[in-house]
Each structure stands twice: as structure tokens, then as C-alpha cells.
């Protein structure tokens, strides 16, 4: 059973209809311009300032509009859509509170470089600045968390602005672009002139092609390195360079670690893959970074969750940094070989002359030893349900073929650690901002982008309650997301920190009073199942898989489980707490 996505009728005939020069309203221009950008699905919530836009959408079925139950649900869904498809996610909200409800989602997308076009209404241009009803300076509020933004003052600018916004959102370092449309602009009529020609903006020229001299330097460094290592991030997935990366790794024989957002950019399970680095990374990856003599960062930005204590990060390594955003190079870590360019293009070029890293034989053996010596592990139990076991079960039943979205916290780290990813765009998670409430609505977007694929949303009991209302849109639109709630009745990651760093002072983490998740699902018309042990878990999951349409499965898991390894804040990444095993 697949989500009800309309067949987008982007026929030549319709295109001709949209392109016909006629006098129409700003709202109609908006819809036509969205169609010209290939939009199939938008997520939104109407209100006073966007009523003309919603009026124009009445009876309009050229794209699907999903009415979420909160603007936060809409933007996270648009985000999940973008991450799982590589297309631009689109959402619409009204002015004032509608727009400000998007802020968390915009910041989430900005931190993780996700292409979104966010359309907000605003009060009429004549009222702007008067503290009018539902007025908020949303372009001002979101300036630090958007790649670019527009306040449309003239209806004639709309087609151009929309075309530019899509271009900016999905090129260079991707990111959210906001278009704020005052009510009188969406009502105003003008002759529609479709904007489809290439965008020319003097101040925007992302550099795709790298400097050849720097590539030569990197080849040279690889030839000389005894302990080279690749650190690959989300940029690999976003640029579509995963095949080129695989080729590069296999040609050079350089071991690779992938960051949280880089998961799926390289097949987990490959001999040269050594897991995720950083705070909850593998023993092998963290040791490898610390002992490497050449660290090649590919589309990763040296986030502090990856580097740990910056002063002691990769102390013996020459650093090569490949990134489309020049500002990332040298921002956190001093770079020896800076390569600005599109990751896919850079890798394609590198692959032409890439050779085997022949001095690294001993190093590969050492790393393989680390991998074997200390993989992720946990104490399994027959009495209580272990969350790690649940993730392994999900992995076994889907064989890495599902799209997994997560919320933020312990379950997110366990999913990252124990799920095996074979394909890019199969992993949707809020990395940079760490946004609770993201997991479930993002799965709705991911499912809309991939109606035929299995989408699993893994949540904690905390995050699930931040956007649970979107169960409604799964129910009415029959969006077959399988919603997992790992219920440990506590804010797990906070509890873990309080236990390990705040001397067992458990302050305000008890989530008693949470709803019965099964009944909550049922209240929305979604099937709900609960499991408290392995047997029930396997049966419930099987039932969920066999049930067409959306299902929520609550796994009541062990309350005291911690995520290991863990690098305490302020430590270097090889100073890992390994948990009970040490």
C-alpha cells in the first residue's frame, strides 16, 4: 500500500496551459511557478495571510497539498521529503505564529544543508511595520538560519523570485530559502511571465570545479601516507557522489569513517568501512582518526560532536578538506590541502588519477584489528527488551532496504550504530540542530517522496510527543509509515548525561504521564501495537509489516540502557567510555 500521491500531470499540454501569458493573481503565479519547478507535494497550514494562496489551491490537483496539524510538522515533513529525494521540499504557512512555528524546522534544515523553499504569508504591504494582527518580521527572524530570503513587494517579481529560490536552495551548499509574500501581493493581478531561464546572480556563483593543483597535492599526500583515513559526511549524499566515493575508496584502499549525516553515503558492512566517528562513534573510527597521518574530509564539516576536544583532534594528521562551501575550510580545523568544489565532481576528478595507497598495509591491518576487537556491543537480555536488539531486529527484517528516519536522543544513536545502510538517502536524521520532534513528521515527507518504499520512523517517547498530532495525516492520507516508539519512560540521553556527568542527579527527566501510545495511535485512526519482550516485539513488528497503511509500534525498552561508547565533552575522541564492558 503506498501513500496517496497524485500522478503529477506534468504533460506538455498542461505546461502549455501554465505558460500561457495571461493576467492572473500572485497566488496563481505562485502555484504555476511551483509546478514549473517540478513540485509534486507541498506541506502546509492555512491562515489569514495565505488565504488567497489557499483559495487558488481550491480544486487544484496538479500537486498534492498535505494539511499537517502543526506548522512544525509541515516543515519537518518537507525536510524529510527533501532528504529522502534530493528534490526541494516545499512548505507553506501563514504570517506571524504560522511563520514563527517554522523557525525550528528552518534551523534544522539550515544546519544540515537541506534544500527547502519555505513560503510564508505576511500582512499586506501597507500594514507591514505597524504591528498588525499576526505580523512578524519573519525574514528578519530567520536571517541567521536561511541561505537566503525574500520579502516580495511587487507581484511581478514573484515568478523570478520563486525560480531563484529553487536554484539557490538546491545548488552549492544546499539550504532553506524563505519567500515571504504579503497578502496584497498574493491578491494582486498581473501578466504572468514564467521564469525558466538560467539564474544569473552576481553574488551567487558556487564553485563546482576544484583547483587542479590541490588535487595533485592530495594525490601526492595519498602516495606518501602510511596511515590515511577518509572522513565522509552528508556532502557525499547531497552531491550524489556515493558511487564515486566507493570507487575512490576501493581504488586507494583507504579506510573510511562516515559521520552521522554521511551514513548511507558508503555501504555499511564494506571491509574498509569502520563506522561512525565522534561522541558515540566506534572504537576503530575514533582511534583511526587520532592516529592517522592523513585525514581526508569529504563533505564533512568537523562538527564538535565529531572532533571532541579540538586541540587534540587528529594530532598527527595532515588535513585535506573537500567541501563546496569555502567557509567550512579552516573554520574549525586547520587545513593543509583545501579543495573547494562539488564532492561528486571532485571525486570524479580524483578517480582519474587515483592510485592505491600502498604504504598503508600495516595500517589497514591495525584498523581491522580494532574493528574486530571492539565493535558496538550491548548486554542482551531475555527479561527486558533492549533497544539495540530492536534496531537489529528492524535491520534484519528490512536488510537495509528501508528508509529510516529518527528523532533525537539515545534511540537515534542506537539506530545510527546498529542499522546497516546500503543506499544513500535512506537515513533521515537531525544532526546539526538535534531537533526533537523531527523524526515522525520527516518520515511522512520521506514516504511522500518514496511511495513504494518502506519507511520506518524511530522515535523516543519524548520526541514522539513533540509532533504526535501528525498521526492524523498518516491516517487520512493512508501514508504507510511504520512508527516505532522506543519507550523507556524517560528522557534517555539526558538521563545518561545526568548519570555520567552530573553525578546521578536526575533532574526533570521522568516522562510519567505520557499517553498510552497504542491508544493515542488508535485515537487518530492508526493501528497501535505494543511489545514488552522479544517475542512480542517480533510478533508486533511482523504484524506491522503485514498491515497495509500506517502502524505505530511501541517497544517498551529497558529504562537504564546507555549509549556506548561515549566521549565525554571536553575529551579527545580516543578517550571513550566503553560502558560496562571495561
Amino acid at each position: 500500500m503506498s501513500a496517496q500521491i497524485p500522478n503529477v500531470q506534468s504533460t506538455d499540454e498542461l505546461r502549455e496551459k501554465w505558460m500561457k501569458p495571461e493576467v492572473i493573481t500572485g497566488s496563481e503565479m505562485l502555484l504555476r511557478s511551483l509546478l514549473l519547478e517540478g513540485v509534486e507535494c507541498v506541506f502546509g497550514y492555512p491562515g489569514g495571510a495565505v488565504l488567497y494562496i489557499y483559495d487558488a489551491m481550491h480544486g487544484f490537483d496538479d500537486f498534492k497539498h498535505l494539511l499537517t496539524r502543526h506548522e512544525q510538522g509541515a516543515i519537518h515533513a518537507a525536510d524529510g521529503y527533501a532528504r529522502a529525494s534530493g528534490k526541494v521540499g516545499v512548505c507553506i504557512a501563514t504570517s506571524g505564529p504560522g511563520a514563527t512555528n517554522l523557525v525550528t524546522g528552518i534551523a534544522t534544515a539550515y544546519m544540515d544543508s537541506v534544500p527547502l523553499v519555505v513560503i510564508t504569508g505576511n500582512v499586506a504591504t501597507t500594514l507591514i511595520g505597524t504591528d498588525a494582527f499576526q505580523e512578524a518580521d519573519i525574514t528578519g527572524i530567520t536571517m541567521p538560519i536561511t541561505k537566503h530570503s525574500y520579502l516580495v513587494r511587487d507581484v511581478e517579481d514573484l515568478p523570478r523570485i520563486i525560480h531563484e529560490a529553487f536554484h539557490i536552495a538546491n545548488t552549492g551548499r544546499k539550504g532553506p530559502v524563505l519567500i515571504d509574500i504579503p497578502k496584497d501581493v498574493s491578491a494582486a493581478k498581473s501578466l504572468f511571465k514564467p521564469h525558466t531561464e538560467p539564474v544569473m546572480m552576481r553574488g551567487y556563483n558556487p564553485r563546482v570545479l576544484p583547483n587542479k593543483l590541490q588535487l595533485d597535492k592530495l594525490h601526492q599526500a595519498i602516495a606518501e601516507a602510511k596511515r590515511p583515513l577518509i572522513l565522509a559526511g552528508g556532502g557525499v549524499v547531497y552531491s550524489g557522489g556515493h558511487e564515486e566515493l566507493l570507487k575512490f575508496v576501493e581504488t586507494t584502499g583507504i579506510p573510511i569513517t562516515t559521520t552521522l549525516l554521511g551514513l548511507g553515503g558508503f555501504p555499511s558492512g564494506h571491509d574498509l568501512w569502520i563506522g561512525m566517528p565522534g561522541m558515540h562513534g566506534t572504537y576503530a573510527a575514533n582511534n583511526a582518526i587520532q592516529q592517522s597521518d592523513l585525514l581526508i574530509s569529504i563533505g564533512a564539516r568537523f562538527d564538535d560532536r565529531v572532533t571532541g576536544k579540538l586541540d587534540g583532534f587528529a594530532p598527527h594528521a595532515r588535513i585535506a578538506h573537500i567541501d563546496i562551501d569555502p567557509a567550512e575550510i579552516g573554520k574549525n580545523v586547520k587545513t593543509d590541502i583545501p579543495i573547494v568544489g562539488d564532492v561528486k565532481t571532485v571525486l570524479e576528478m580524483l578517480n582519474i588519477e587515483a592510485g592505491h595507497s600502498s604504504y598503508a598495509d600495516e595500517w589497514r591491518t591495525t584498523i581491522a584489528g580494532w574493528k574486530k576487537e571492539k565493535p558496538f556491543r550491548y548486554d542482551d537480555s531475555e527479561e527486558v527488551l533492549k533497544p539495540q536488539w530492536v534496531v537489529e531486529m528492524l535491520n534484519d527484517t528490512t536488510r537495509g532496504e528501508a528508509i529510516v528516519t529518527t528523532d533525537v536522543g539515545q534511540h537515534q544513536m542506537w539506530a545510527a550504530q546498529y542499522y546497516r545502510f546500503n543506499k544513500p538517502r535512506s537515513w533521515v536524521t537531525s544532526g546539526g540542530l538535534g531537533t526533537m520532534g523531527f523524526g515522525f513528521p520527516s518520515a511522512i515527507g520521506a514516504q511522500m517522496a518514496n511511495p513504494e518504499r518502506l519507511v520506518i520512523s524511530i522515535n523516543g517517547d519524548g520526541g514522539m510527543q513533540m509532533c504526535a498530532q501528525e498521526l492524523a495525516i498518516c491516517a487520512i492520507n493512508n501514508i504507510p509509515v511504520k512508527v516505532v516508539v522506543m519507550n523507556n519512560q524517560v528522557l534517555g540521553m539526558v538521563r545518561q548525561w545526568q548519570e555520567l556527568i552530573y553525578d546521578n542527579r536526575y533532574s526533570h527527566i521522568d516522562l510519567s504521564g505520557s499517553p498510552d501510545f497504542v491508544k493515542l495511535a488508535e485515537a487518530y485512526g492508526v493501528k497501535g501495537l505494543r511489545a514488552t519482550n522479544k517475542q512480542e516485539a517480533a510478533a508486533a513488528w511482523q504484524e506491522a509489516m503485514d498491515t497495509p497503511g500506517p502502524v505505530l509500534v511501541e517497544f517498551v525498552v529497558n529504562k537504564h540502557e546507555n549509549v556506548y561508547p561515549m566521549v565525554p565533552q571536553g575529551a579527545t575522541i580516543d578517550q571513550m567510555l566503553m560502558g560496562d564492558k571495561e
Partner: protein
């Protein structure tokens, strides 16, 4: 160890759009870069404004400032003026207390600095002085004993010398 914080003057050519000043100054604020002064006005090209920003920081900070500025879509060009010989000027208007008896003495100071009196009140003079920061600082110091009633100074505007 004393960190090497140097003064840098950068020119930023931007689209003349509403909100651009906010984008640029906001960037400095949230990235923890210092703004000592910022001036904005028309440039030689219609539709573009030139901002001149004086900031402090080490070379790495300056590099980040430039790179982050280039991320703003409305920023066309960033030039580190202080890396080359440049001319920087600011302007100050100083309203100094000046009873008729004191005026000849004050006029002496003003002439020495090649400043100008641009308004005369019953008991005050308005002085306009143009020059680099040090000159204006010195002028203010010299006028202080007479009693400064009001002071308004612009930030620096600057250009590289020669044909560049």
C-alpha cells in the same frame, strides 16, 4: 600570550536591497566578529552599495569574515583594504562651547587641523573635521578643554590607493 588582534578595514560591495545591512551586521554579531565601525553608501555602480567595515581580529578571523560574507547572496565582492596601501577617512561634527572671547583660540586649533567651522551659535561653534581616526581623536582631545556639547563621528570610508 597576547593574541594578535589587528585592525582590518574591509570593503563589501553589496546589492542595494532592503535588509542587506542587517544581513551583514547580523553575520558579524552572531559569528562573534567585532565591528568597530561600519559605513554604507552608494557605490560607483547603480544598484550596488559599498560598505566599509573596520573590524579587529587575527588573520584566521579575517579569513572567516571574508568567507562568511561571501556566503551572503547579496554580497558581490569583499576586499581587504588594509592589506594594501589605502586611504581611510572619517568625518566628525563637533559642537564646542565657544564664548566670543574664546573663539580666536579655538579658531587657531581648527586652522591647524585644516578643519572648518560650519555653524556658529551665540555661544558655540560647530566644527567639521575630516581625516583618519588618529587625526580626529587628536582634534577632539584639543577641543575637550573648551567643552564639547555634542559630538557625532562617522565610521571610516576607505579606498586602495592608485589604479587598482
Amino acid at each position: 600570550m597576547i593574541p594578535t588582534t589587528l585592525k582590518h578595514t574591509i570593503a563589501v560591495l553589496v546589492n542595494d536591497q532592503p535588509g542587506v545591512l542587517q544581513r551583514v551586521s547580523g553575520l558579524f554579531g552572531r559569528r562573534g566578529f567585532n565591528i568597530e565601525s561600519i559605513t554604507v553608501g552608494q557605490s560607483e555602480e547603480a544598484g550596488l552599495s559599498r560598505m566599509v567595515i573596520v573590524t579587529t581580529g587575527d588573520e584566521n578571523t579575517l579569513e572567516q569574515v571574508e568567507k562568511q560574507l561571501y556566503k551572503i547572496i547579496d554580497v558581490i565582492k569583499v576586499i581587504d583594504l588594509s592589506s594594501r596601501p589605502m586611504v581611510a577617512r572619517e568625518l566628525a561634527l563637533i559642537k564646542v562651547k565657544a564664548e566670543p572671547a574664546e573663539r580666536p583660540e579655538i579658531m587657531g586649533v581648527i586652522e591647524t587641523f585644516r578643519a572648518a567651522v560650519v555653524d556658529i551659535g551665540p555661544s558655540s561653534l560647530m566644527v567639521q573635521v575630516v581625516g583618519d581616526t588618529e587625526k580626529i581623536d587628536a582634534m577632539i582631545e584639543l577641543l575637550k578643554p573648551y567643552g564639547i556639547r555634542e559630538l557625532s563621528r562617522t565610521g571610516a570610508t576607505a579606498m586602495i590607493r592608485g589604479n587598482v
